[in-house]
Symmetry: C5
C-alpha cells in the first residue's frame, strides 16, 4: 500500500453501472515525510475519509477486496485512514500530535 | 484509476476473437491540471466516450470487471466519463463550466 | 494495452511445460508516433503476428485471457495486429496507406 | 519479490474491517547492495519481522496468498525474513556474518 | 516477460510456510543487448536455472501459474531458460554460438 492525502472529489454521471453510488476521491501520493510525490490516483473511498486526511490506498486486484468494491471495475481503493507512522523510532506523521 | 483524454481510435481486423466488436480508444493520460503526461494507453470503451472527452480508466485485472470486458484479454478500460473534479476546493476541470 | 512492433523471436528449449508450443516474440514498445520507447517485452503471440508488424499487447493477468494462454505462466500477450490509429483526426499509423 | 528493510510501523484505527489485527510495516525498498532506493511500501507483516530486519516482500494479488492476507484488500506483504544473498559468488548481505 | 540473468541465490529460514522448499534466485534484469538494466528481482526458480544463465521471468499473478508456484505468495518466477533471440534478423544472444 502507499500513503496518500485526500485533496478532492471527482464527479462522474456517466459511468459503468457497477460504480453507482461510489465516492471517487482525488488522492495525492505522499512519501514517508508527508511530501507530495507529484503522482495522483483517483480511488474509491471504502472508509469514509475526509478532505485533507492522510490515508492508505491499495491498487490492482487488491482494490476489489473490500465489501464495497467487490467485482467492481476499480483499481484503487482507500482502505485505511492513517493515525501515525514512525521511521527509525521517530514519528513522521501523527494525526493527533501529543502535547509535550 | 487515472485520468485520460480520448484523442482517437484504433482499428484492428486481426485480433483475438474475444475482442470482436469492442471499440479501442487512444487515451492520453492527463494529470490533475488536465495536462498531457506524455503517456498513453489503448483502452476498451465501456461507457460510450467520444473524442476529446475526459475520462477515467482502470487497468490490470480491474479492466475486466465491466460487463463488456469480462474474461477478455484487455488490460485497460474506460469506465467513466468525468464531469468535474476539484483539488483543495477549486475546480481543476469542469465539463460544463457554470456561467458566472 | 500498449503498442509494439514485433522485432524478433526468442527460442527456449527448457521451460515450464505449460509453455510448450507457444511462440515467444520480441516486442519493442512504441509510442503514438510509432517511435521506439526503449522498452521491450517478450510476449506470447496469440494472433499469428509477423516480423515488423505493429501490434497491441496486453500484460498482467489479462495476458492469460486468450484461449492460447489460459492458466499459463505468461504475463504478456500479443492480442491484436493493428491496421491503423488516429490522433486528433490525423492518422499516425496506417498499415495500408490509401493512395492519394 | 523485492528486498526491503523494516524501518517502522503504521497505526490506523479506522480501516476496512478485513484489516483488523494486521500489523502494518513501513518498508524501505533496498537494492542488491542493501542501499535504500528511495522507494517505500506499507506492507502487512506475515512472518513476524522486527524493526531493521531485511525482508522480502511480494506485491499485487500475490500479496493475498498468505493465510493471513487471503481475500484482504492488501497489495503488499512481507513474506520472508532474509538471512543472506550472494551475487557472483560474493555475499552482499549476511544477517549473521561468519567469524573469519 | 522480461529477460534476466541469474546472478545469485537468496536464503531465508523464516518465511511463509507456503514457500518451503522453493529456490529463490537473484535475477538481474537485462535488455535486448544482454546489458544489465540496473533493476533486479528475487524470483522463484521453476525450471532449474543455474548461475549466470540467461532466463525469462514472469511477474504478478502470472508468476503463480506454474505447478510449483500455484497459490503461493510469490510475484516473480523464472519460467524459461533462454537459448537465443534475434532482433531484426541478427542474433543478440546465443547460448551455444554456432561455429563459423
Amino acid at each position: 500500500m502507499l500513503l496518500g492525502k485526500i485533496v478532492g472529489t471527482l464527479v462522474s454521471n456517466r459511468k459503468d453501472p457497477k460504480l453507482e453510488g461510489m465516492k471517487l476521491m482525488v488522492v495525492q501520493q505522499i512519501d514517508l515525510d508527508c511530501q507530495d510525490t507529484g503522482k495522483y490516483v483517483i480511488a474509491v473511498d471504502a472508509v469514509g475519509a475526509g478532505i485533507q486526511e492522510v490515508i492508505l490506498y491499495a491498487t490492482g486486484s487488491s482494490a476489489r477486496q473490500t465489501v464495497l468494491t467487490e467485482n467492481k471495475p476499480v483499481d484503487a481503493v482507500v482502505m485505511a485512514i492513517v493515525d501515525e507512522w514512525e521511521v527509525d523510532g521517530v514519528f513522521r506523521y501523527q494525526k493527533y500530535p501529543e502535547s509535550q
